[in-house]
Amino acid sequence: MHHPALEFGGWLKAKRQAHKIVARVFAMAIGLSPAEYAEVEFGIVKWLAEKQESLIVKMLELGAAEKTKFLSLLRKAREATALRFEMLFRREQLEPVRLCSPDGKQLTKDTKEAILDAVFAPL
């Protein structure tokens, strides 16, 4: 699927990884939670406000040309149809196979469905 927001998310992820910053740390640095930032890299750009835009430029040390590209990609992402998590993943794709559970118990069919319901619930 080609979509401007996917292009933006992919570009941002590549830049972050080139700076050797893991997603969780980058999220905190730009004032987002880990779950919100993960969605940004998937192309769900609604979490990015002016604050995040300026912090991303700062954290990734974007020069003038790269800053222009960043803002251009972001603008195109915002102008396109907004993506949602359930549009990007299928339940089967994120089905749990092995689990670290609070009670240490084995995965069951019922737990599997409850987990998927929780994962696909909007943030």
Partner: protein, 204 residues
């Protein structure tokens, strides 16, 4: 035909961890192994999600091997976040045939495993996660340093164990019990000492 999990010995699990450390040497900074960077470099994306997930799972490996799904709440305690990611990554390594994108082998789904299979698979993934986050040689040498220092303060064995394991957890940025179990893996403390000094006292 039911699923046949290929069990690994502790030495084999240590060798797998050592191979990861060699291949991802720039993700190992002093005592701290950057497991999130290792996972990303392996082509796996961590997906933190919220809400009710935390009551059901701290984290899990997804059917698509490119994703590890995590409860976002776990990220509020980075040592635990790191441990869960390491454990899920270990599952992918140890059961690659389950994750290679083809149909799941019959009997391999989580709810299809026998109790014994579940226990073995979890035990070995936990062992490998400890071996990855606490590289053997670093752990052994640093344990001796902290043990010697602790003995100077108070030579009583229980106090030495609790102080030493606490410092190891700090140095390697892992949960306290995780460091304790690693010390057991490497025969630095006995399992009975682990149970006396930690399990009944602190929730993991």
């Amino acid at each position: 035909m039911s699923y046949q999990y290929k069990s690994q010995t502790p030495d084999q699990l240590e060798a797998i961890a050592a191979q990861i450390h060699r291949g991802m040497a720039d993700c190992c900074n002093g005592f701290v192994v950057d497991i999130e960077a290792i996972v990303e470099r392996s082509g796996i994306t961590i997906i933190p999600r919220r809400g009710n997930l935390h009551r059901l799972a701290f984290g899990y490996t997804a059917r698509d091997p490119h994703y590890i799904v995590m409860s976002e709440l776990t990220a509020t305690h980075p040592p635990t976040y790191r441990y869960v990611i390491a454990e899920e990554f270990s599952h992918i390594i140890l059961e690659w045939e389950v994750y290679d994108g083809k149909a799941l082998p019959e009997g391999a789904q989580g709810h299809e495993l026998t109790g014994a299979q579940h226990h073995t698979i979890e035990h070995e993934a936990n062992y490998l996660s400890r071996a990855i986050l606490c590289p053997r040689e670093h752990f052994l040498s640093q344990f001796e340093v902290h043990k010697a220092d602790s003995e100077k303060v108070d030579p009583s064995r229980p106090k030495v164990i609790r102080a030493t394991v606490g410092l190891m957890a700090r140095d390697f940025q892992v949960p306290l019990l995780f460091a304790g179990y690693r010390a057991c893996d490497l025969a630095l403390i006995k399992e009975a000492e682990m149970k006396t000094n930690f399990i009944d006292r602190i929730a993991f």
